[in-house]
């Protein structure tokens, strides 16, 4: 049983490792590590990430096996390491052989250049390199298990644990931190902060990566906003992209020289864009929010298409630039310094994400958030509890859509351009997908969803044509494997866990109760 599950863990680590090699994440990690530590080659960094993964799998397997001796711990850890090594080794064997035959793999996957492949094969012949990988990952798995074993059993571990405890006690003696840690969601906040920090690190990687991180970030903001509407209040909105467009166009019209030459400061145009989007949401919401479920979805979908077609039509050319869009959208500047560059925007977007997450976190655990949840659970009953349904639905829509306006404002000025084709149905669907894939109602889930849905396709530029295929496959797999999302909210996890307990303990308690 445990061997089976650790084998399975090893195989998934192996598959992830293969994916990482194919899309160039190992190579990226290699370059990053080389840059940070001034190493002569990218090889150590590329290996590091693989070894860490194998080590993690090994440590997990050890914990599952509950091994009590060094030998057992090492063996438990070696199993997943070997499994992962076998998969990756086989792949590298294949790739190595193909390269040796002179096949240019770059025509299928741009990351598989001979130089990149060599990072892992170390210039050895194919079979030898495969064996090295197998051995290395097996060793890493065993090492991971040994580390866990030592930290739990050994004196070193005890000393470390004691130190950690002492440190923890010292930290928590600060009342503000103590109070913070006492909160039910303290862990989530720390994680978000950690992720934000992680996102700050790649700022050394240049314009291209900044652009990608920024794009992911904008989608995180959009996802957070849609999460209020769909995840919290339960209003299925398929026209979210329309408000993204409204935000983008508001900023564009107010700051660009054409077509109106208003020349407003970006810092003024930004809040206006948010407010305009929110007002548009309320105007759409008043007639539409009386509908429920499917009807609401279809009406919002139609609204988004109307907005896009209006933007593209000749009717609006004088006002919005028509199909050509609006060029030279203004960007942020501070005290005369032009901040219109990728690095600044990346920071700006990150700040926006933190702000948005904070707002949502606070709302979630308040009277307002509870009213939204009540509406999602049962509209009639919520009304019977004194919740003014229409007001609260409008509130959810206005706030959620305000985030879309904010995202749009950043998007337009970052690109210095906005046009109708930026706002196809695809945008709305993408955002909805990332909310669902990440886990409805979960803030870190949105982060994960955006990383997967916007990050992967950006990294997989060469597979661009297959993006939709990947989306579809991912959604289907997700719904089967993790119906609650990549990083579900504690509530949903709790729900599933308790439901399982009910299943196992249910009949007995039922009898007692009856």
């Amino acid at each position: 049983m445990t061997v089976r599950s650790s084998l399975r863990a090893g195989l998934s680590v192996g598959l992830i490792a293969i994916l990482m090699v194919l899309i160039g994440i190992t190579q990226l990690s290699g370059q990053l590590v080389r840059g940070w530590f001034g190493l002569p080659s990218a090889t150590p960094g590329a290996w590091l990430i693989l070894l860490l993964m194998a080590g993690w799998a090994g440590s997990r397997a050890y914990k599952q096996a509950k091994a009590t001796s060094w030998g057992a711990a090492l063996a438990a850890g070696a199993v997943p390491g070997a499994a992962a090594g076998l998969l990756l080794g086989a792949l590298m064997w294949g790739i190595g052989s193909l390269l040796a035959n002179g096949t240019d793999l770059r025509q299928w996957l741009a990351q598989l250049s001979p130089a990149n492949v060599e990072l892992l094969t170390l210039g050895l012949p194919p079979l030898a390199s495969a064996l090295v990988i197998l051995a290395a990952l097996t060793a890493a798995g065993a090492a991971g298990a040994a580390l866990s074993f030592a930290s739990e059993r050994g004196q070193w571990g005890a000393a470390w644990a004691a130190r950690r405890q002492g440190l923890g006690a010292k930290v928590t003696s600060v009342p503000a931190i103590e109070k913070f840690l006492a909160r039910p969601n303290a862990r989530q906040i720390v994680l978000i902060a950690g992720l934000a920090l992680l996102l700050l690190l790649p700022l050394g990687v240049g314009q291209y990566w900044n652009y990608i991180i920024g794009t992911i970030g904008i989608y995180v903001i959009l996802g957070l906003g849609l999460n209020i509407i769909v995840g919290m209040a339960g209003l299925l909105n398929l026209g979210y992209g329309a408000f993204f467009a409204i935000g983008a166009y508001t900023v564009a019209i107010l700051t660009a020289p054409e077509p109106h030459n208003i020349g407003m400061s970006y810092w003024l145009a930004l809040p206006i864009a948010v407010v305009v989007a929110a007002i548009a949401g309320i105007l759409l919401g008043i007639p539409v929010l009386r509908m429920r479920g499917d009807y609401l979805a279809i009406v919002t979908l139609g609204f988004a298409e109307i907005i896009r077609i209006l933007l593209r039509s000749d009717v609006m050319t004088g006002f919005t630039g028509g199909p050509r869009g609006i060029r030279s959208v203004g960007g942020p500047e501070l005290l005369g310094i032009d901040l219109n560059n990728e690095t600044f925007f990346t920071y700006f977007i990150l700040v926006g994400i933190v702000l948005a997450a904070f707002v949502i976190y606070r709302l979630q655990n308040s009277r307002v958030g509870r009213a939204w949840m009540a509406i999602r659970e049962d509209e009639d009953v919520a009304e019977a509890m004194g919740v003014n349904i229409l007001t609260y639905k409008l509130l959810a829509l206005a706030i959620g859509v305000g985030f879309a306006g904010f995202g749009g404002a950043i998007f337009a000025s970052r690109n210095r351009f906005t046009g109708p084709e930026d706002f196809t149905l695809q945008v709305s669907i993408n955002v909805l997908c990332l909310v669902i894939i990440g886990g409805m109602g979960s803030i870190p889930g949105v982060l994960m969803g955006a990383l997967v849905l916007k990050g992967l396709p950006e990294i997989l530029r060469q597979l661009d044509d297959y993006r939709m295929l990947a989306f579809g496959a991912l959604l289907v797999v997700m719904m089967i494997v993790r119906p609650e999302g990549l990083w579900p909210s504690a509530r949903q996890k709790n729900e599933l866990r308790v439901a399982e307990e009910e299943l196992t303990a249910g009949p007995g308690t039922e009898v007692v109760e009856a």
Binding site: F358, V359, R362, L363, S366, R367, V368, G369, R370, A371, M373, A374, R376, E377, D378, D380, V381, A382, E383, A384, M385, G386, V387, N388, I389, L395, I399, R491, N494, E495, V498, A499, E502, T509, E510, E513, A514
Partner: protein, 262 residues
């Protein structure tokens, strides 16, 4: 108080669904602090009448005066804010929320915190939230669910769900509590407990309670007055003893159809 000690006064209330008249010309008075029951065979219009009081349905004709205010023009949430709370025939908790959250939603009408207060965690909003949690925990204790605040409503046993629903209704500090078949699906012991509980509500909180109930032991055991509906028409009204011997009632229940005797 107003209406001569009556907290709720209905005059000639009529509700129609297409050609069907579910409630017809019903006059009804509910004395303050009373425990009254509405009984009647299935489909007699009891729940429809409840839904008219709570604003879910708008009666075609007639007046509903609660504490001096007409309910006919009010939305359900406004009626709750006025002090009418209800439970549902088939339990309708917020299944995906915890017991505590269910009660907190019940408190919604009493609370004031808005978006700004919540986001900025203003002192007023914070203090209110703290009080709301304390009150919710007290209510959980009161309905016998102390310590189960973190359990999702859907995972509570049936009897607890019934009690939680009453707790949630109480959270809005109602003056009038409407219970739609509160003992449905309960065993005799639970039913007994609930009867004591309802009497306690009146004694300790001065609540007026209106019940729809099929269990005649409950109806006859705790009601001050009983109203009988049949095909949407009030056919009898009086003390439990009067009702028990009323030939019209006996006919409605045991009439030619042999329908729904409890």
């Amino acid at each position: 108080m107003s209406e001569g000690g009556h907290i709720l006064k209905a005059t000639r209330v009529t509700k129609q669904f297409g050609g069907l008249t579910a409630v017809k010309d019903v006059d009804f008075e509910l004395p303050k602090g009373g425990i009254c029951s509405i009984i009647g065979p299935n489909g007699a219009g009891k729940t429809t009448f409840f839904n008219c009081i709570t604003g879910f349905y708008k009666p075609e004709a007639g007046a509903l005066i609660f504490d001096g205010i007409s309910l006919v023009e009010c939305r359900p949430d406004q009626i709750t804010t006025l002090g009418v709370a209800r439970t549902f025939q088939n339990i309708r908790l917020f299944a995906g929320m915890t017991a505590l959250e269910n009660i907190l939603v019940g408190e919604h009408a009493r609370l004031r915190a808005g978006v700004a207060g919540a986001i900025l965690s203003l002192p007023k909003a914070k203090a209110e939230e703290k009080r709301a949690w304390d009150r919710a925990n007290d209510l959980l204790d009161f309905v016998g669910l102390g310590g189960k605040g973190d359990v999702l409503a859907r995972n509570l046993p049936y009897g607890d769900q019934r009690r939680l629903e009453i707790g949630r209704a109480l959270a809005s500090n109602p003056k009038l509590l409407l219970l739609d078949e509160p003992t449905a699906g309960m065993n005799p012991r639970e039913t007994e407990d609930l009867m004591l509980f309802i009497q306690r509500l009146r004694a300790e909180q001065g609540l007026t309670v209106l019940l729809i109930e099929h269990d005649m032991k409950v109806v006859m055991g705790i009601s001050d007055r009983v109203t009988v509906l049949d095909y949407g028409i009030k056919i009898a009204e009086g003390t439990p003893l009067e009702i028990q011997s009323n030939p019209k009632v006996i006919e409605a229940y045991l009439g030619s159809n042999q329908e729904g005797a409890a």
